[in-house]
């Protein structure tokens, strides 16, 4: 099944509302590339310890744009064909070969089922398709995210309790 028109429309809307600058999907023969060309402020979604506010980019006064205290990702030239650098991923080296587990929705990232519980997975842990790696919560909907691949967790990219965007990478997995 290739992408349907309403799905593409939905994708555009989601990317538009998100802080993602460039988005690419290849699904059974349909390839869609969405790029933002506007001169909008780049917003870093990397761990933001000092700023508790999650700023909504929709239906919000334009003056309230981003607040980021961590080194922001350098806005790269948008015309480059290279895959856009993903926010919050510091290393470049082998990342292309690593599988990214991404967030399927906007919400709060939790590494453990309860504050005093062990994390679902740690760096170095072996996972399979069904292993639960984290929870993303929005409006008290708890979405238990499965790895969907077999491999080893190489890096946890976000902090517990951090707000994550749609499509934001959460883990890097070396597939096996």
């Amino acid at each position: 099944m290739s992408l349907k028109m309403h799905e593409i429309r939905e994708l555009i809307r989601l990317v538009d509302e998100s802080q993602i600058e460039e988005f690419e999907i290849d699904k059974e023969g349909t390839k869609v590339v969405i790029k933002k060309t506007s001169g909008r402020a780049q917003i870093a979604t990397a761990p933001v310890q000092e700023t508790p506010l999650a700023v909504s980019t929709q239906s919000v006064a334009p003056s309230v744009s981003a607040v980021a205290t961590t080194p922001a990702v350098q806005p790269t030239a948008i015309a480059e064909p290279a895959p856009a650098p993903t926010p919050a991923s510091p290393a470049v080296e082998d990342e292309a070969n690593l599988h990214k587990i991404v967030s399927p929705m906007v919400g709060t990232f939790y590494r453990a089922p309860a504050p005093d519980a062990d994390p679902y997975v740690k760096e170095g842990d072996v996972v399979d398709e069904k292993t639960i790696v984290c929870i993303v919560e929005a409006m008290k909907l708890m979405n238990e995210i499965e790895a969907e691949v077999r491999g080893t967790i190489v890096k946890v990219l976000v902090e517990n309790g951090q707000l994550v965007e749609y499509g934001q990478p959460l883990f890097l997995v070396k597939t096996s």
């Binding site: 989601l14 508790p52 909504s56 003056s63 929705m105 709060t108 919560e137 929005a138 008290k140 517990n160």
Partner: protein, 325 residues
């Protein structure tokens, strides 16, 4: 099959109550022998029903225990899908756990897990939920919504509307919704809704709506630390509530809200939620994992996130404990 005959037998006895219904009529209605009728009467007695049997008059129901068994719910239920399949147990660790198992086995939409008691009832992020025997409604409803995963958070808000309407219909109590979906009476919590989703990428496999409602818990039974923040319908009403009819009313209202949402989308649900919530336009404090936010609750966005006007501008909140300031 056996379950079905028992459902219908109980329905007959309830319809005739306080009159007798003859053994002959029961066996004709149910299409089974009079010996089989006797066997089912005995089973009901073992569950705590008091049934008088008199020669030449038949059977008469004297006492119905307060149970949330399928035959009790079915008698009150007028839905198409919700609660049409029920798994019922006296005691479970958590109805959510059973519902996850059942959903993985292929449970149809609307399947319901219900129990008299939970020993490990849970709320958000591993918090426990006090679920003593026969005093509340502890249940989990399995949904398979044909929507995008990014829209699934709508379900938690529409669930709060459905449950609110069901409780109001049965009790007449004024229920307020605290964002995103706790239900309060006079500022104290009577219901929590925990929604859990399994899916991949943009596809939803299933969603479980777990509901805990404090119905007949007497005040003296509450653990000390809960008394200030939680209450039960019976305390607020001054008398007990029939739990099986409450479940039926909630399932009916939930089904209606859900069907409406699937047909017409989120906008009307959102408007209704904003009217019902009691926080819109008020000064609130939201304790989020990213910090504390204070401001005025403005409205919901299209995902159901709460938009708060702070002195730094508008802020959207996806996860928080919200309280009035």
């Amino acid at each position: 099959m056996g379950q079905n005959i028992r459902d219908r037998l109980l329905s007959l006895l309830i319809q005739y109550q306080p009159q007798f219904v003859s053994g002959e009529e029961i066996s004709r209605e149910l299409g089974c022998s009079r010996a089989a009728v006797w066997k089912h009467i005995e089973e009901l007695r073992q569950e705590g029903y008091e049934i008088e049997a008199r020669p030449r008059s038949g059977y008469r129901l004297l006492y119905r225990p307060d149970r949330v068994a399928p035959e009790e719910i079915a008698y009150h239920l007028h839905t198409k899908k919700f609660g049409r399949e029920i798994r019922y147990q006296e005691v479970v660790a958590s109805t959510q756990i059973l519902a996850h198992q059942w959903a993985r086995e292929g449970a149809v939409e609307g399947s319901l897990v219900v129990a008299e008691e939970q020993t490990e009832g849970r709320g958000r992020l591993g918090r426990s939920w006090y679920s003593p025997p026969r005093s509340g409604v502890w249940m989990s409803l399995i949904l398979r919504p044909p929507i995008l995963l990014t829209e699934a958070s709508h379900l938690t808000l529409l669930a709060s509307l459905g449950v609110k309407q069901g409780i109001e219909r049965v009790t007449g109590l004024p229920i307020q919704i605290k964002w995103p979906n706790d239900l309060l009476v006079h500022g104290k919590k009577i219901c929590g809704i925990l929604t859990e989703l399994r899916g991949e990428q943009d596809q939803i496999h299933y969603v479980i709506l777990g509901m805990g409602i404090n119905v007949n818990t007497p005040e003296k039974n509450w653990p000390e630390e809960l008394r200030a923040i939680a209450t039960s319908l019976a305390i607020e009403l001054g008398g007990p509530v029939h739990r099986a009819s409450l479940i039926a009313a909630i399932l009916e209202e939930l089904e209606e809200v859900y069907d409406h949402y699937l047909q017409s989308g989120f906008s009307k649900i959102k408007a209704k939620w904003e009217q019902s919530s009691g926080i819109i336009g008020k000064q609130i404090v939201a304790r989020t994992p990213q910090g504390v936010i204070t401001g005025i609750a403005e409205h919901l966005n299209d995902q159901g996130a709460l938009i708060i006007r702070t002195d730094r501008g508008l802020v959207s909140v996806h996860s928080a404990d919200v309280s009035l300031k």
